[in-house]
């Protein structure tokens, strides 16, 4: 079994769905504070009421915290076992996250591909978390590209 043998029917199939507990004020504030954000619309409920959103909202990249319950479907995770690296991230943002929002994340694989460079082959998996809130509004699509060095035939046979 190798990366190229992974059944491509996994692409587009929902492999995880998770609904989070209501988003707490503390989560929103802690995210912004530890990032070093100083704009009160992400930190201070009172000040945020006078801001453009009429209340506290999460800093936009808060959405990357909501990664769902299962990182990858089993048949892909089995081949990505040597510790990969985050190669990049694409986020598309919709409705802002507010305290009390109930977010559901559904996860799908959108791409599986291999690239060969000077250091050998690299495997890439792109998975998407589609986030919606309790009103059915799109909050974000978060596409993550994971990369790992391809295994040689000898390694795969072990």
């Amino acid at each position: 079994m190798a990366f190229s043998d992974i059944d491509r029917s996994v692409i587009g199939r929902e492999y995880d769905r998770m609904t989070y507990a209501p988003i707490a004020v503390e989560d929103i504030v802690s995210y912004a504070r530890t990032l070093g954000v100083t704009d009160p619309i992400y930190l201070d409920e009172e000040a945020a009421r006078r801001g453009p959103y009429g209340g506290l909202v999460a800093f936009p990249t808060f959405v990357v915290k909501l990664r769902g319950g299962m990182h990858m479907p089993q048949e892909v995770a089995r081949e990505m076992t040597t510790g990969g690296f985050d190669a990049g991230k694409d986020i598309e943002l919709g409705a802002p996250i507010r305290p009390g929002d109930v977010i559901t994340a559904t996860s799908t694989i959108t791409e599986l591909y291999e690239k060969t460079g000077r250091s050998g082959s690299m495997w890439f998996v792109v998975f998407r978390q589609h986030l919606v809130n309790q009103h059915g509004e799109m909050v974000a699509n978060v596409d993550s590209r994971m990369m790992q060095r391809g295994r040689t035939e000898k390694e795969a046979a072990r």
């Binding site: 990032l35 991230k89 986020i91």
Partner: protein, 140 residues
Amino acid sequence: MTSERSGATFDAVEPGDDLPEIVLELGRDYVKSHATAIGMPFPRFTDDEGARREGLPGQITPGNMTLALLARELLAWAPGGRIRRLGTTFRGLALAGGTVRLLGTVTEKDDERRTVECDVWMETAEGDRCVVGTATVELP
């Protein structure tokens, strides 16, 4: 031209404009604290020893944090704006304990949507672009 809340405004910006540079120290505690807040308190993000055990030269900054720092750069420039899309490629390691520069430039304007496209990137002290990205920002 800027206003107190909105900062950069659509009418005032032009392709070729640079975003104000931010010089930032990626202190070890700072990286650890945010990595923990985003649910990634993994050794590579929390201490040098743990990172070295994973074959890394030392504690590194999570990709998700570098993404967020580029968003911070955009919203420091345009606090009244809304980021509609942000895409990044993590090309190299942003080591904790080092200093980085956050930079950006406006590349396009869309008059209909009142959005701008920006190139944004993070540069190490050695001048390596360890994170590069593009963003779509709606401006007031």
